[in-house]
């Protein structure tokens, strides 16, 4: 079972975004929590909560792969616009590094390019600058 880390990741990303951008516009994003119930014909009944992002682009980031009567298996990649350009908070920086070890997610630059967070942070720990990747 993969750990559900979407919530923390997205919040962290938004937090950084909030340092560079206004309340509204491209950074308006948050998390939707949905309790689910699943069943199968073998008498299995399960309950869990799934979380996914609500925001522009609307593409999730987290890979859900837990077994609930063998029914839930999904992968998302987060796509957003212009998340942030700098990380000034050392605690936040470390938090993102920790997260990058546990997930496969990307940072959107203000020019529409994306780069893996782990790569970005390792390359320029405290001063990320937008750059065209692809």
């Amino acid at each position: 079972m993969k750990k559900v880390i979407l919530y923390a990741i997205t919040c962290a990303m938004f937090g950084l975004c909030g340092r560079a951008m206004a309340q509204y516009g491209p950074c308006a994003a948050s998390i939707q929590s949905v309790p689910i119930y699943c069943q199968d014909t073998n008498g299995c009944h399960g309950s869990a909560t799934i979380n996914y992002p609500v925001g522009i682009g609307g593409y999730g980031l987290e890979a859900y792969n837990f077994t609930c009567c063998g029914a839930i298996n999904s992968t998302y990649y987060w796509v957003a616009q212009c998340w942030y350009t700098r990380v000034n908070d050392p605690d936040m920086h470390q938090r993102l590094l920790d997260l990058s070890q546990r997930g496969d997610f990307l940072i959107a630059t203000c020019k529409g390019a994306y780069l893996p967070l782990s790569v970005a942070l390792e390359e320029k720990p405290l001063a990320l600058k937008p750059q065209k990747i692809l």
């Binding site: 750990k3 929590s33 309790p35 199968d40 309950s47 522009i56």
Partner: protein
């Protein structure tokens, strides 16, 4: 009746045939008896064993092994179940389980609305209201990403997104679209018998939760008061005082709050907490009701109904991010009828097998349940509650 310490009762709560003996924190519930220790009370709760006959297949609808909770119910007792696609949880379908023939709602196909994320829905007598986050801007922008697992490319709509209410008729046909103010992050929707909407939102400027009465055209009528016991929440408090990260967390936490229809009113509740519930009636009249719970359990959900308050409780401490055994045998979830006047436990409702999650609706003292059979058909059955 012996008086036991709270912790002892949690460990040894005994189920008798016909009656259930439970301890309960004293709080200030009227009609409940404090112990001589001052912190424990006992209630002798009757048990009603629900005998559900074999279900009848609902024609016209294909079932799903995954159901997003809560099940919502129309005033005439029809269950509406939300079925996420395993390949993309955001793409929800909703099915009405009408005995004569179900209807499938595909709210993501609203004309002129793109990139929709369904946030909530609520069936009323003549329509079903769906709350979305979406955009009217059809323009797609190419994106390409590099990830540790290889390149990812696609198209995304980056235009202005906001909340909308989409109304469908009871046969699943789209009727109309209502724009909601962009200043709020709307999270949940309910519809009163009188036609007004009750909307739960987050105000990202003031960083507070907002409960609003809105007319059928989407125009704001007035704010409704949220009980302090619901707002007393670490995430909401941190959202008010902390940085933007905490504000987003606070806003997201409201997505876990739920609406249910009950006794021709609406209940707003906060799962997995001991907070009171809020009943909203005609014209937005509100009533706060403290809710009792079996010891060691907390509110998980409300079964919508026209006549009774039926609550599902979850064993405290179960993880949200992992799958919990929801079978009746596990004892992780319990069903109780609750007194709507004071929130006290009234009757435990027990099932022989299956899961308490299968209990969908109550209408005039009759409960209905559903399950999905091996041929992906919804089977619905019903049983009477005790008076």
């Amino acid at each position: 009746m012996r008086v036991l310490k709270f912790s002892t009762i949690v460990a040894v709560c005994s189920i008798f045939t016909g009656h259930v003996l439970y301890g309960q924190t004293a709080s200030s519930k009227p009609g409940l008896k404090p112990s001589d220790k001052g912190d424990v009370i006992e209630i002798d709760t009757p048990e009603h064993k629900l005998e559900l006959p074999p279900g009848k297949a609902i024609p016209g609808i294909e079932g799903s092994p995954i159901i997003a909770m809560p099940v919502q119910c129309s005033p005439d007792g029809v269950a509406f179940v939300e079925m996420p696609l395993a390949s993309d949880f955001r793409q929800m379908r909703v099915a009405s389980l009408e005995e004569k023939g179900g209807h499938l709602y595909t709210p993501g196909t609203v004309p002129g609305l793109y990139d929709p994320v369904l946030l909530g829905f609520f069936p009323a007598e003549s329509d079903v209201a769906f709350l979305f986050y979406a955009t009217r801007d059809a323009k797609e922008t190419d994106y390409s990403m590099r990830s540790e697992k290889g390149p990812v490319t696609g198209k995304a709509r980056l235009g202005t997104h906001q909340n909308y209410i989409a109304l469908f008729d009871r046969k699943g046909v789209f009727k109309s679209l209502i724009d909601l103010p962009i200043e709020y992050e709307y999270r949940k929707i309910a519809e009163l018998d009188s036609g007004e909407f009750v909307l739960l939102a987050y105000n990202p400027v003031n960083r507070v939760a907002s409960l609003q009465l809105v007319n059928a055209s989407g125009e704001f009528l007035r704010p409704l008061s949220i009980p302090g016991g619901m707002l007393d929440d670490p995430k909401l408090n941190q959202g008010e005082l902390g940085g933007s990260t905490e504000a987003v967390t606070a806003s997201g936490s409201l997505s876990a709050w739920q609406f249910a229809s009950a006794r021709h009113r609406v209940i707003l509740y906060k799962p997995h907490s001991s907070a009171p519930v809020l009943e909203v009636g005609s014209g937005g009249a509100v009533r706060e009701v403290p809710l009792a719970a079996p010891p060691g359990y907390e509110l998980d959900g409300v079964v919508s109904g026209t006549d009774r308050w039926i609550m599902r409780f979850r064993r405290s401490g179960l993880s949200d991010s992992q799958v919990s055994d929801a079978s009746t045998a596990s004892g992780n979830f319990l069903l109780y009828e609750t007194n709507p006047l004071d929130g006290s436990l009234k009757t435990r409702l027990s099932l022989k097998s299956g899961s308490v999650f299968s209990l969908a609706c109550e209408a005039d003292g009759v409960v209905s349940s559903f399950l999905v059979d091996g041929s992906a058909k919804f089977l619905v059955s019903s049983a009477s509650l005790a008076n």
